[in-house]
């Protein structure tokens, strides 16, 4: 399938001399949910700002729906809805009017029924005549989403959508995201919360220090890098790993009471059965067994650390 967004060799150096993006290339597929993970200052927001036309690239090219974002900016931008990271809303304006404003700005004639549908979906309908300054922080975030959806975009950017958001709103938000995806909308979100990416994304991109370290199907990524650990609690502490067990990838905890065995779930033989047999042959009595699988977070920390 043709990518809906294509970013080629994108480079950005700010006037301060800071190089925020270092020749980034990225293809975003139509209809997918792509999560961009990365530490603060990695370049996530810079990347999104450039696709949306808020920041000018130093070099490189971006197309959205096949349209160049500079020469064909009208066609490109009509496809995009942006929910910015910072809550930026006209404080004295009413909810309904600010959503209507966004729709007009994107060149659409008024559509009261559609606007009502969005506001209801985001539990904002009862607040439609409330000035924005009287809303809670979570409500303001909903308004930002309603504005971004007001012109029925094909692509939705959510920049840190759940930073400082309560559980209920987060749930509502993922409901909306789910429905949008079902209707064919492409969703790109940046987040610090790795569980979030793990829960809803189709693909995960990791950005650090202005570079895209990887973009991979989430399931593939987790399977590929899915390392499991087996913890073996011993009845009696030992001083060293017995020579009979030297062939296993084992390490001993400092107090000598626990052995950790690292294995690959994808491997043909995990070696667990053999290990357990050899353990008892070596005269070690077990107290408990435990396993853990590396999460996306471990993978992420590993990647960014290097």
């Amino acid at each position: 399938m043709d990518p809906i967004i294509s970013v080629t060799a994108l480079d950005k150096t700010y006037r301060s001399g800071q190089r925020a993006l270092k020749g980034v290339s990225l293809e975003i597929r139509s209809g997918e949910i792509l999560a961009l993970l990365g530490p603060n200052g990695a370049g996530k927001t810079t990347l999104i700002s450039m696709i949306c036309g808020l920041t000018s690239p130093s070099s490189g090219q971006i197309t959205v729906g096949g349209y160049d974002i500079v020469t064909d900016y009208r066609a490109a931008r009509s496809l995009i809805g942006l929910v910015p990271q910072e809550v930026a809303l006209e404080p004295f304006e009413k909810v309904l009017n600010t959503v209507k404003f966004s729709r007009g700005l994107f060149g659409h004639p008024p559509d009261a029924a559609y606007v009502e549908q969005i506001l209801r979906q985001l539990s904002l309908w009862d607040k439609r005549n409330t000035p924005i300054k009287e809303l809670s922080g979570g409500m303001k975030r909903r308004v930002l989403i309603a504005k971004a959806l007001s012109h029925q975009p094909k692509i939705l950017f959510l920049d840190e959508p759940t930073a400082g958001v309560d559980v209920e709103l987060r749930k509502d938000m993922w409901d909306v995201v789910g429905k949008l995806k079902a209707s064919g909308v492409t969703i790109v979100l940046t987040t610090h919360y790795i569980e979030e990416a793990e829960a809803i994304a189709d693909r995960v991109g990791v950005i650090a220090d202005g570079d895209i370290l990887l973009v991979e199907d989430k399931d593939k990524l987790m399977a590929q890098m899915g390392i499991k650990e087996l913890y073996i609690e011993l009845q009696k502490p030992i001083k060293a790993i017995p020579p009979a067990l030297a062939s296993y990838d084992l390490w001993l905890a400092e107090d000598g009471g626990r052995l950790t065995y690292v294995y690959d779930t994808k491997a043909e033989r995990t070696g667990i059965t053999g290990l357990l047999t050899d353990l008892s042959a070596a005269g070690l009595a077990l107290r408990d067994l435990q396993t853990s699988q590396s999460s996306l977070e471990d993978i992420f920390v590993d990647l960014v650390k290097d």
Binding site: Y14, R15, S49, C52, G53, L54, T55, S56, Y73, R74, A75, A76, R77, S78, I80, L82, P84, E86, A88, L89, E90, P91, F92, E93, N97, K100, F101, S102, R103, G104, L105, F106, G107, H108, P109, K147
Partner: protein
Amino acid sequence: MNIHAIKAIYFFEMARTFRTLLQSIISPVISTALYFIVFGSAIGSRMVAIEGVSYGAFIVPGLIMLTVLMQSVTNASFGIYFPKFIGTIYEPLSAPVSYFEIVVGYVGAAATKSFVIGLIILATSFLFVPVQIAHPFWMLGFLLLTCLSFSLLGFIIGIWARNFEQLNLVPSLIITPLVFLGGSFYSISMLPPFWQTATLFNPIVYLVSGFRWSFFDTADVAVSYSLAAIFVFSVLCVSVISWIFKTGYRLKN
């Protein structure tokens, strides 16, 4: 052309005006009415007529100009500065809107507001002093062109300003002195010769003179000069604005 976007910006800005009716319309009208009472009725009645026009009436065009210039600049500069300040500027900048459409929306709304204020002040002046309008069509034309060109200037100031202090700097330190020294309250023929010449470098002289001509058929400088001055000034502002959008000056990183 994204007509819906222009309408959206225009009406959003006009809604701000109606939300702050007291501050944006009633307050300038009241302060100008005070000028009419003090300079027009009270002091004006003791002054000799200037070029056959009673002093009270003579200052009407200048006073309207004073308010309209200030209002155009402050409305337009605030209109674009405020979204920058609170961050909502991200929306017009990421929307399928051309720079021309953004300017038409913001500047159009600011100019409309000051035009309406100008008309209200004119209507108010009839309550205090006898005013005649020799060329009503030209009067409206001068008023409209002034509102537009100074709203363009205000738009530039709003983009240039980094804080509220800078936003107020130009209106209070530049526009006010230029208007007071621009013949709002006197005819420049009343000045010593040196100052008459110096005054000709003040662009506001041309606006006030042309506007006054549309009322009383007498002018300090030729009407064609006044029109040319507004035209040159507008072209200058439009060029600066197109440069701003081309380079993203203080709008984009």
